[in-house]
Symmetry: C2
Subunit: 160 residues, 2 copies
């Protein structure tokens, strides 16, 4: 493995570490606990968990790894605020989707070579990518890892 592979391996290690942190934090909650708000009047833990699941699900097509598995999560957890929808996916559905989506992502990551990470992501056109090659898949990995950390910091406030 050359030096390029070292950077990718580091990026993946940090991603994996944050996923494990989220597994532990959200995975240990009961169906009552996931409905707890992180602070009075703020998002519930289930909303954050669903929001992260939907965001990670959208990474599948963005990184060219496959179709979305749970685009129905967007209405409940992305395009609308918490507590604005009459019905949202239940605790068990979010738990399952979180596991499936991150499993699929990881399988895809393992198949990618270090140079694949420098290819454009699918939300940028070839023309725009030619102008700014930093809009690549590795940039998505880093930014989504930080997005996960951002909400993990919030979710931690919802614990006892």
């Amino acid at each position: 493995m050359g030096d390029e592979g070292t950077y990718v391996a580091l990026g993946l290690k940090v991603w994996k570490g944050q996923i494990e942190r989220a597994d532990k934090l959200f995975g240990g909650l009961s169906s009552e606990e996931v409905l707890r708000e992180i602070a009075p009047g703020r998002n519930r833990l289930l909303y954050l968990w669903g929001h992260l699941t939907a965001t990670h699900d959208a990474m599948l097509p963005l990184l060219g790894l496959g179709k979305r598995l749970h685009s129905e999560f967007d209405v409940a957890f992305v395009s609308n605020r918490d507590k604005s929808q009459a019905a949202i996916p239940a605790h068990e559905q979010v738990r399952q989707a979180w596991k499936t989506v991150n499993g699929e992502l990881w399988k895809g990551f393992e198949k990618m070579s270090w140079s694949d990470w420098l290819q454009r992501h699918t939300a940028v056109s070839e023309e725009d990518f030619a102008k700014d090659p930093s809009r690549n898949r590795f940039a998505i990995l880093l930014s989504r890892t930080n997005h996960l950390s951002y909400h993990l910091g919030q979710a931690a406030l919802g614990l006892k």
Copy 2:
């Protein structure tokens, strides 16, 4: 610039983006507002800002970029909880230190070559580094960026 440089540039871009986000969030607060808790009974915004400053200050020696500038921040913002100390650095001191520390870090980053980032950080011995070369400076950059995101997510709750 080879591909190795591309990864480093991406890591630095994400770091810079989060620093700018923090500049905007914390920099826009009045001296009354920084004393607001992010949620009832939780850390105050000033504590988070000081905590991030101290953490970034410690990156200077960790990355071999120089001595710490504000090690006195640790008592107030790292080794003790918020509201446990009789006196902590004031708003203006934190603002100045945040600016100085991140400025010094960036100056150091600009002097580093991509291969410098794969060198061991100073908290790991040569022996341990030989066993696990992932304990390098790029790993510190990625993990500290995520640490920043984690607390930014919390700090955002303290805004109106």
